[in-house]
Point group: C2
Chain length 337, copies 2
DNA sequence: CTGAAAGCGCTTACAG
DNA sequence: CTGAAAGCGCTTACAG
């Protein structure tokens, strides 16, 4: 095992040209099976390692993808996105690609600085996780490499997005709550914080409409300000029997708040969440919630990027991936009046 | 902005050779300031992006590092390691490096298959997070690239490791418990599960020794089997007044178990953990625990790898990074008898 | 089935 | 201060 074995070294040893080595190692036509076998064996023996950079230079492809996560997200959200990243890595591997994580600093986002890995051609495209500022979305929409937004979208432009089906997820979950006899159902979340939350709210609203339950202003309860910072939740005077929360973390906090105020969950109030994050199993009772299908979303996102790499004109638009409701213990069936 | 601008294109536009472009863009000597400025400006205007692969090929360096995490870790541990990965990415960026996550599958670990990114020379070295099987450690110890173990070590060989100071962390935390008047102090954790847990146990033991508190067999309580799978915790007959847990997750579970059995925390039993993970703040009461210094550990690990990249013979041995005790509400001061 | 030639886009001596 | 030449390790036509 010398320091640096190249195809030429193998060629000399086997007594053929390096072109033949290249063909053999890549299983291309034009080399006899016998010779192929031999070359592969010798390469193995010599401890040959393929040099991706030479190939990259030839083809103008890095076989890397950049996974961009804005720095500003809370630790909890980050953890969620990191799970995505992990799954993306796995999926990319099956395409012979690698994923490079790029945490976009707030400063770079504000000053519209593109990731270094873009300026150095280290990646062939980007998957962006988590809401970016408008200007930055505009900027990244104009670069030469394909970009997919994962788990968020904006209306400004035509970047393809892969999204959880927030709307139908909460719609179905709310239907479930209604089927359990609830009529006084509140939504917890700030409708103006993110588009995801807005869609979840609309899913809740659709369920109410369908069941001819009136939307009450005092039953749309803020959990954060428009910048996403959590604020204290205020319970309405006329207590609901069920709370549809925009995510599990909020549901978790709400349960604590309810318990502090002497309410039992789910006996007095039912609570449902979204995400099936760690909060869903840590809360007591455990939460009925919607599980985001991270695996499928990752698979689709990568498939889209690969499609755009082959044909840069390809457009996918917005693709919604359904989540699955996970039934646990936070909803109580109540008697119909 | 054409598809692909090279230094040669800039050279033509400016009317010099591509050598001068290279020197100017890399701020090397031998180009007048005036010309440098002009070249940089033109490069910017033309939308030039540097091609790392050409440089990589010349130098035999990829400017990427592989971050390896074995697949088998629990979701919780993964989240912890992913935080490490994120911090590593940030630190690497300051060295002009990128981090490529590589989840090592159980199959590849068993069959001693090296990461694809190694065989394709996509990375210059590895940082490994999380205990690997012995055979794999042997294998990875012999490869041509530098390797650092982060957050674990083995005795078998000389791979440099960066570790939390498990021993002193728990030692100091146990001292704190003792200072609060406790004498009946149990340790929760399987001493044979990992070397980290073993060291934490020894820190606990040292504190007992120093305070002349006898080590009781019934006060060393198993929380998992030797493969790391959690088992039900059995409380001793003669209840301790304090529990030193090998991590926060276990402490979290223990608190629930204690509360189910009618004990109040910290009134009846004090509980401390390790990691300052999400469980530490989600538990009620919140946990006094040891915060792992992810940032400093990441910085040191990257520094070591860079050192080894410059000089492959460099050895760092085991480096312990101190954590910080985070005081919260899970320890009660009890009266000295 | 096999190989000589050219090129991917840089950088590193070296010469002027 | 500036540039011609060679080379990093592959792959892609093309010729035989």
């Amino acid at each position: 095992m010398k320091g640096n074995i190249t195809m030429r070294d193998i060629a000399e040893k086997v007594g053929v040209s390096s072109v033949t080595i290249s063909k053999a190692l890549n299983d291309k036509e034009g080399v006899s099976e016998e010779l192929k076998e031999k070359i592969k064996r010798v390469a193995e023996e010599m401890g040959y390692r393929f040099n991706t950079h030479a190939k990259s230079m030839k083809e103008g492809l890095s076989y890397n993808l950049g996974i961009v996560i804005p720095e500003r997200f809370s630790v909890t959200t980050q953890a969620f996105y990191l799970q995505f990243y992990q799954m993306l890595s796995k999926v990319l591997d099956s395409y012979h690609y690698s994923g490079i994580l790029y945490i976009l600093s707030q400063a770079d986002e504000d000053q519209l600085v593109l990731p270094r890995i873009y300026n150095e051609k280290k990646v062939d495209g980007f998957i962006v996780l988590g809401q970016l500022g408008k200007k930055y979305v505009e900027l990244i929409g104009k670069i030469e490499s394909p970009v997919i937004f994962l788990d968020f979208y904006t209306d400004q432009n035509e970047i393809d997005s892969v999204l959880t089906d927030n709307f139908y997820g909460v719609y179905e979950l709310t239907n479930y709550v209604v089927r359990n006899g609830h009529k006084k159902i509140a939504f917890v979340g700030n409708v103006h914080a993110t588009s995801s939350i807005q869609d979840r709210y609309l899913g809740y609203y659709k369920s109410l409409l369908e069941h001819r339950i009136e939307l009450r202003k005092d039953y749309v309860i803020k959990d954060r300000d428009e910048l996403g910072r959590y604020i204290d939740i205020e319970l309405p005077e006329d207590m609901p029997t069920a709370f549809v929360c925009n995510n599990d973390e909020v549901a978790y906090n709400l349960i604590h708040l309810l318990q502090k105020n002497g309410f039992h969950v789910p006996e007095d109030c039912s609570v449902v969440g979204f995400d099936n994050s760690i909060h869903a199993t840590l809360s007591d009772p455990q939460l009925t919630t919607v599980e985001v299908d991270i695996e499928e979303m990752s698979r689709v996102a990568v498939k889209f990027i690969m499609g755009k790499l082959e044909n840069p004109k390809k457009k996918y638009g917005r693709t919604f991936i359904k989540g699955n409701i996970v039934y646990r213990d936070s909803v109580k069936k109540i008697e119909q009046k």
